[in-house]
């Protein structure tokens, strides 16, 4: 009887774990090789929703719209005046923070719209440069707003927001960029 028990004990099945590390290493090396750590970076935009057939685009007062025109050669017109790409940032900031002072610029940051219109033959690179300048103007204004609230910069403020929290800075200065149909 006692001998039977002893025999049963000896038959205990065990999985050999010595090769476990090797198997794991193999898988690890596979994922190490296939992983791309580089994060995608880009300029985020939200397209306007599709309009119904009979629907007119919402009206924007002339003074609230800052018109930036870019032609095929990469030359820039801001409000029908020849300008350089580097000037866009300052102009956009002036437009948004005007608060109704200058009659040619926006009434308030909430109403300010920046419109970018290109030519059919404008290169994408030029368009991105212009768009980048406009976004940088917004980022700089948001940074300034964040500093008023006691944060070092806008990203620090955004990091404190939960997924459902309202972004107060973007409520004060909403990014309103409209991309018009290219001229052909």
């Amino acid at each position: 009887m006692a001998g039977l028990l002893k025999k049963k004990k000896r038959q205990e099945a065990e999985i050999p774990t010595a090769s476990m590390a090797d198997i794991a290493f193999l898988l690890l090396i596979f994922f190490l090789v296939t992983t791309t750590i580089d994060v995608d970076t880009g300029i985020g935009m939200t397209l306007p929703p599709k309009l119904e057939e009979d629907q007119e685009p919402p009206p924007v007062r002339e003074r609230n719209m800052l018109k930036i025109l870019v032609n095929a050669q990469g030359q820039v017109l801001i409000e029908d005046e020849l300008a350089s790409v580097q000037q866009i940032r300052a102009e956009v900031k002036k437009h948004i923070t005007n608060n109704g002072v200058d009659p040619n610029y926006a009434e308030s940051p909430q109403k300010a719209v920046v419109s970018i219109k290109t030519d059919c033959e404008t290169s994408y690179n030029t368009y991105i440069q212009v768009l980048d300048e406009v976004w940088m103007a917004y980022f700089e204004l948001w940074d300034a707003e964040a500093r008023k609230l006691g944060y070092p910069n806008y990203n620090a403020y955004r990091a404190t927001l939960g997924p459902d929290d309202e972004n107060q800075i973007r409520k004060i200065i909403p990014a309103q960029i409209s991309v018009a149909e290219p001229d052909c």
Partner: protein, 152 residues
């Protein structure tokens, strides 16, 4: 006395304990498994991205869907005409994009469309593709761009 001393030294095992090795490796493995996004497409067009400053990072790679626009890479190394590529296929008819993207949106309602467009592409095509995206209802887009080169 001397022999006793030697005997003691010989008794101590100097091996590194390897029992936890599989656990450590598994931990690393799981990290890489989670962070891996397998590249499933071959890009048939050149996408030399423009440079920009106002960049944001996209952390939720799983929400991303890519549209590639650029001059087609020919087998002989030359560049062909500008084409649009979604997944593995080149799109011949631009108006097909709305159906493709609409179906993707149904699968992933929080879809972000990453536009990887070559810097030499023309705005006419970019705008037409954007109009298709509006038709499809995929309104969140992202113009992929590289960070500005450090000033030398």
């Amino acid at each position: 006395m001397a022999s006793q001393h030697f005997k003691k030294k010989a008794e101590t095992k100097q091996g590194i304990p390897t029992a936890s090795l599989p656990d450590i490796i598994f931990m690393l493995l799981i990290f890489f498994m989670v962070s891996t996004v397998l590249r499933e497409t071959t890009v048939q067009v050149r996408t030399l991205l423009p440079r920009a400053e106002a960049l944001t990072k996209i952390d939720q790679k799983r929400l991303l869907s890519y549209i590639y626009i650029g001059p087609r890479k020919m087998p002989d190394g030359r560049l062909g005409e500008t084409r649009v590529q979604i997944d593995d296929a080149l799109i011949d008819d631009i108006t097909l994009i709305r159906t493709i993207m609409y179906n993707k949106l149904l699968e992933q309602p929080k879809l972000i469309v990453s536009l990887r467009i070559d810097q030499d592409a023309r705005m006419k095509l970019v705008y037409d593709v954007q109009q298709e995206l509006r038709e499809a209802g995929t309104l969140r887009i992202n113009y992929s761009a590289r960070p500005e080169a450090p000033a030398s």
